[in-house]
Amino acid sequence: MKIAVRNVFDKVFTGLTRASIVLLVLVLAVVLGPILYRGSSAVVFRGTVEFRRMQFAVFGHGDEQQIQSEVQQARAVRERVYEIVDEFKKGIDASALTERARKIHRDFGQELRYRQTPHEQYAELRSLSRDIRDRLEAAFEASDKAQVDESIKYVMQYRQDERLRDTIAAEYFQMAGDFQRAAARVDLAKRAEYAEQLKDVEDILFCADDRPGLLGPRPGELQPALVMNQYGATRWDQAKALLDRFLWEEKWVEQEKGKPLVKVKVERAKIFEGTELEPLFAYVRDNVREMLRPRWTFYWRYFFDDSASGHYFGGVGPEIIGTLLLTLLSMLFVIPLGVVSAAYLVECASENMVVRIIRMCINTLAGVPSIVFGLFGMAFFVLFLIPLFDGPSKPCILAGSMTLAVLTLPVMIRSSEEAIRTVPQEYKEGSLALGASRFRTFVAVTLPAALPGILTGVILSLSRVAGETAPILFTAGVALGPVPDSVLDTTRTLSYGSWDIAVGNRISALVPHKQYGMVVTLVLLVLCLNGLAIVLRSRVFRKLKGQ
């Protein structure tokens, strides 16, 4: 082959190897980039007044007076929204109006009884009230204006009736008047459609059954049961998404037969064109800042706060505590075992059958899949060992940490072995020559010299343990629960939580910042530990080389 061709091949090959490394770096960037970027928004974001209100009410953070005054200012701007919606509803919401008419009828009956009206008069008035109510209901249901006017006119003829004056029944006429005025402006044929649309608008603005709205439930009304629905959009990005949904309705329409449906956005203001609700959209769009008062927030308490309403609000405090408990406890088991094993393998063992078997077992242990450790932890620690000592036979931190200790034992042994092996022979020989015993040499000379290296191993095992999920699935982890009281409780951990929040419940899909925030906390924890280990190792390396 010609040299030129060979050189080209050589260049291509070198280029390929280079490309593989570039690929690695890219992969790292692609994997960590989105996670870090979106995760950071869990801590740094524009919090709205609803966020500060929630923080005070749920966690007790913040200055009450300041928050109150801010809430007042925001409410003042929101007041107009409530007015517009109420005004529009009078003409639209047939079911609410009907409901109110019925209530008046019931209340009127009670009032009559309370006043001890004579029997005949009572029956007469009741039937009159029923008549008015039915007529009103007919008007509310009517779909053309003439019908409405006729019914209202019929109702209004009783307005001057002496018997109804100064009673609850007078409200009928108030209602009828309101309705007539509202109905005059509304296309009655479209009323059902408007009512449906209004429901959407209210869901987005205030709160739906299953998700919070832009402004939160209206003050003075019955608060929803779920904590997450009691507040409006706590974050400006959420608010913007909701505002978009508020201003534009997404529809899936069939444009051609047999083609997949296409998503179209329709301006809601257009849907309500010509009605009293129309100005609402422009008003909300222009004043949403004043209504929510977004402000850049550095939510450092994210790492300490408990979470509220599932994972919807709050932080990852319990997860961090659980992770620390689990990892530190497992270190307690694994460090002595690992260091002693490494010491034996380096200092005492000659290459015989026993040592070969031990080494083989360490390698086997390193290759066992993590889920098998989970099975083992459940079968051995949870179902066998802990009950043997009269402990509860249920997943707990103790079982989890022991499982993790077994899992990380090979890592610990190997890194300690490495560390002990790199201690220069001269150190030991010097100590032995001074007459120290081998034990003393190890404890007083080798171990201190190897300590930074061992520490590196400890940190690496720590990071491995902190990130493991499969072994604690059945031995220690829960998705939501209180901070553990003892090592015999289950616990939340970052790794388990990251899994759960990514695939687990529906609510967490509403809070992507929380999903990413959880995983970013875990990744940062693990990477910081690893970075520490890398730095430590390079320093030890330099020191032992005598530089």
Binding site: R6, D10, T17, V31, G367, L375, F376, V406, V503, L527
Partner: protein, 325 residues
């Protein structure tokens, strides 16, 4: 060195009125201390052996009643996995085994070429400066928790695959393979690089002096010489992929089926690890389903154990061969 005495403050020889000899008791004490100490250390070291033993024992104990009930052949060859079926539960693990093999092979297809090239780059091509930059990158790739990879697979990669390529679902064998390949890469690179670096300078220099280019040297001399180690690296990467749980559970779609046609990686599969993780929460302790999951675990354990043996054998052979030269 063996005769070192314990805890005795020594006088200098010149001050001593008597020769530095041990009394018989002191001698015995030293002897006993040494050997008892050694024994204790040995026993502690044997924890690893005990752990491996207990893992096999307890998984086997839990799986055993199942294996007496359902024949091993049926377990390994039928594809129906309906353990909770009321009328006739089926425990065919073939689809699960196939799922594991699919994602593992898929991962290796991506990871092995890149891994070997990267290992060659690190050992033969790059300057130390870049090496110091690349090594931490690989370490970080290895350190990122598997659940974070799974998270990436579900929330970033899956929607992208679905929108970009129009797959029926983004969580499929391809997704799991891609992410697993990233996870297997650090193992493959570091083990392969070790064994490629271990190939002596002499071989390379001999090749270069015959006029070979770098590519020819690497492909015809270095890699053949290091092939045992490289295969071991691939096997270790395979172990990492086959034993991985969270990623495949989150990314593979968890449909117990063998893709049809067989090369279609865009279909969902279900692996052994994901089955254990996913089903265990829903089983009653001691039920057939529960024991079947332990049987799957035992199968997994045996598979990784055998793979581990292979890799050890290969690494030992690589060490021996390269040591001789």
């Amino acid at each position: 060195m063996d005769k070192a005495k314990s805890g005795r403050v020594l006088q200098t020889a010149a001050d001593s009125s008597q020769p530095l000899l041990l009394t018989p008791t002191e001698d015995l004490k030293g002897f006993l201390g040494l050997h008892l100490g050694r024994l204790t250390l040995l026993l502690i070291t044997c924890t690893s052996v005990l752990a491996v033993f207990l893992i096999f024992l307890f998984i086997a104990i839990e799986a055993f009643p199942f294996l007496t009930k359902v024949s091993l052949i049926e377990f390994l060859t039928s594809t129906g996995w309906y353990p909770e079926s009321y009328e006739k539960p089926e425990f065919g693990a073939l689809a699960l085994i196939a799922g594991s093999i699919y994602v593992t092979i898929g991962a290796l297809v991506f990871a092995v070429p890149v891994g070997i090239l990267a290992a060659v780059f690190l050992s033969d091509i790059v300057s130390f400066g870049i090496r110091d930059f690349v090594k931490p990158v690989i370490e970080i790739l290895a350190a990122v928790p598997s659940v974070a990879y799974g998270f990436f697979a579900v929330l970033v990669l899956a929607p992208w695959l679905q929108n970009r390529f129009g797959f029926a679902t983004g969580t499929n064998a391809l997704n799991a393979s891609l992410v697993l390949s990233v996870m297997a890469l650090p193992t493959i690179i570091s083990v392969a690089e070790d064994s490629i670096s271990a190939v002596g300078r002499e071989l390379r220099e001999g090749s270069y002096s015959l006029g070979a280019t770098r590519m020819e040297t690497v492909l015809r001399v270095v890699i053949p010489a290091a092939h045992s180690g490289i295969i071991a690296a691939v096997v270790l990467g395979m172990m990492r992929a086959i034993g991985e749980t969270m990623v495949v559970w989150m990314a593979s779609g968890n449909a117990s089926q063998i893709p049809h046609p067989w090369w279609d990686l865009s279909q969902s599969v279900r692996t052994m690890t994901a089955t254990i993780a996913g089903d265990m929460g829903e089983t009653a302790k001691g039920s057939d389903h529960y024991r079947a999951l332990f049987a799957v675990g035992l199968l997994l354990l045996v598979m990784t154990f055998l793979l581990n043996m292979v890799s050890e054998y290969l690494l030992a052979r690589a060490k021996k061969r390269l040591g001789k030269q």
